[in-house]
Symmetry: C2
């Protein structure tokens, strides 16, 4: 589009040459992930979100609109007369759980000094969860230094 490729940054266009960038185009601002965390926790109404987060109302409004536009949330009328709306996660939104869990775990490891503020469990077992990266071939847990990166079929640069 631009000959000198100015659009390397946050472009607002999720069809990026990098999937991290694509993701950040949707949820990579100061508030979106906090809004989503709150929705994951069960807050679905505008007022509740606003109070819990302390976000300015106009910003919350625009963030929710953007998340709805990007199909991460849906706006559902849960009452008529007076009309009341709530925001629910779509499948795509729920699929962000892995990312939120990764961010939470990092915060736990480096800022919670062994005492996590929130613990996630398997609903049926009530046991703790663990997030791992595994090799689809050998099945072993792969740490950051054993990871290699190569261009895939969607590479555009």
């Amino acid at each position: 589009m631009n000959p000198k490729s100015k659009t390397t940054a946050i472009t607002g266009d999720p069809s990026s040459a990098c999937s991290i960038e694509a993701t950040l185009d949707v949820i990579g601002d100061r508030w979106s992930l906090l809004v989503l965390r709150s929705v994951f926790r069960g807050n679905h109404q505008f007022s509740t979100l606003q109070t819990e987060l302390g976000i300015a109302r106009n910003l919350l409004s625009s963030r929710l609109a953007r998340l709805v536009e990007n199909e991460v949330l849906t706006k559902v009328e849960y009452q008529r007369r007076p009309k009341r709306y709530e925001y629910r996660l779509t499948g795509k939104g729920a699929d962000l759980s892995q990312a939120l869990i990764a961010l939470m775990n990092w915060g736990d490891r480096w800022y919670a000094s062994g005492k996590a503020p929130t613990i996630l469990t398997h609903r049926s077992c009530d046991a703790a969860l663990e997030q791992v990266v595994v090799c689809t071939a050998c099945g072993t847990d792969v740490g950051p230094t054993a990871i290699s990166s190569r261009p895939g079929p969607g590479r555009r640069t």
Copy 2:
């Protein structure tokens, strides 16, 4: 600290009541994660990062300073006369790989239409990787709807 708890938002203080918030206090702005992605990819110099990302130089400067201050990166003099520096991931920084992978995977699933721009592999197997959340008790892969959340020992609210 503040009686009416105004500090629910992005406070710049990672010792938050929520680990997601703590994490976002460190890397939750428009650029930090993109800078880190670039460092993960092997770009360690100021100029290289600036050119690759298209970020304003003063912003890159302040982001790098903040990441160094928070011990995500270290600034290493790799040459004297003239002095040249490079930025390297610390252990804490490398530990963000899970989060970057989660964000990348989400982008792959929802914006790459089956063709990932980048593929991560197990260095020794050359096979694809998979990120999963597993139960420490039953060992099964736990999807977003089977996850339960409860307050942990570090809860402060």
